[in-house]
Symmetry: C2
Subunit: 234 residues, 2 copies
DNA sequence: GCGATGCAAGAGCAGTGCTCTCGTTTGTGT
DNA sequence: ACACAAACGAGAGCACTGCTCTTGCATCGC
């Protein structure tokens, strides 16, 4: 019955594990994933570099842990914006959630690069990241669901060659919504994160200056794509 | 007057430079930027690792050269699709260019990651990459310009707080088009590359199956966002 | 022909991820 | 209470990296 790890040993283990992650996250935030060194983390923690491997079997495993944390942090931010805008019109909630996501990305560029940038190692993200990764998408979907319940959702059209795919998508993660909105949700999700990525990764340098206004306007267009009626008359 | 590099010396120099880039590009294509090692390139080229530094002062400089090449390769692909669809309806040209970009990205995932993924080193892309990087965007703009000349462009609306920005954008790179289309072009450009990035980087795993049909449908929606009338009745 | 320059090679530095071994500490079953 | 097993920390070491410096050689302009 060691499944319940009582004892000071186990307590120390989770404490040290947390300390390693914390220090790694600090270095990640200010240097980026490529410069994250296990030895450097061990050094500032006052332990031998080989000791780290008792807690994370490889550098990639540490990165995976940080990836999950980043997904969760972003997901929490999105969900907080969702809760904070409860009761407002769907169009306003949409921009609230989108702006929260953008704000997190701008505040945590390296974390954002870690989860939505190019996959660092030989990619193939472990399946353990899926639940944390889907929180953002579900926050966006919640706004759409809200609008649908209020009868304020203009269900988009779907071409014939996508009907089966739309049905499959809807059955997988929005069984309570019309199938036609599923592809639109996925598309808008990808476009939104791609848009934010461009801003975070500096592609807008010397191209977009009024980035906040530009983002609001673009996000209103995305809202229309999923069938929402955006708040501001853009 | 050594601006015209005559002599066998200079000829050997550009040949070796090209050989280094070629071998580096090969390794990049099959391993990714993170695994690209100067020593490995030198090894397979039969030269000492220190000799590489006569041609590229640092690893980042080699990467920058590869970045420019990737931008140019993608830009050429987009421009070829533009020329190949000359005469067709704007909506069809739009999907042709978009599909060409997507095809290139799927065929060269590591190159795509290099230019549109997270910036590898301490980012801040050198100004020398700008001309090559803008070719894709201009290919997309050309379709819009084509539609505008044919009187088939539905100029989108722009909110008041973006009017000045739209005018500045338009003056910078589309002085012959109505200012209101400039922000839409930039937004659609970012969203398109973001969408492709999600597919290339594996974010669509277990989410989108019929990726080609999904892409075509989404791209038709992007066309509408810039004021084009898409070809297929989606 | 002769200096000046460009170039290749080797050694070397500091750093990395990761493995292995060796005592030591801690927890557990008898 | 004792003994055994598991977990642990530290150190040495391997193979690798980007990059620098020095040394000798080939090439170029004059």
């Amino acid at each position: 019955m060691t499944s319940t790890p009582h004892g000071a040993r186990a307590r120390a283990r989770i404490e040290i594990t947390a300390a390693i992650k914390e220090e790694a996250r600090r270095r990640l935030a200010e240097q980026g994933a490529a410069e994250l060194s296990l030895r450097a983390v061990a050094r500032t923690l006052g332990m031998a570099s080989s000791a780290i491997y008792r807690y994370f079997p490889s550098r990639d495993d540490l990165l995976t842990a940080l990836i999950i944390d980043a997904y969760d942090s972003l997901g929490e931010t999105a969900e907080a914006a969702l809760k904070g805008s409860a009761g407002a019109a769907p169009g306003e909630r949409w921009t609230a959630v989108c702006e929260a996501i953008r704000g997190w990305a701008l505040a945590h560029p390296h974390e954002y690069a870690l989860i939505y940038g190019s996959p660092v190692p030989g990619y193939a993200a472990p399946a353990t990241t899926v639940p944390a990764a889907s929180r953002v998408g579900f926050a966006l979907i919640d706004v759409v669901r809200d609008a649908h319940r209020a009868g304020e959702l203009d269900v988009p059209a779907v071409p014939a060659d996508l009907e089966a795919e739309a049905a499959r998508m809807a059955a997988d993660f929005v069984p309570d919504l019309p199938p036609a909105v599923a592809p639109a949700c996925v598309a808008v999700w990808a476009q939104l994160l791609g848009l934010i990525g461009f801003e975070v990764f500096g592609q807008f340098t010397r191209i977009v200056e009024e980035r906040h206004a530009f983002f609001r306007h673009t996000v209103a267009g995305l809202a229309r794509t999923v069938g929402l009626r955006p708040a501001d008359a853009s």
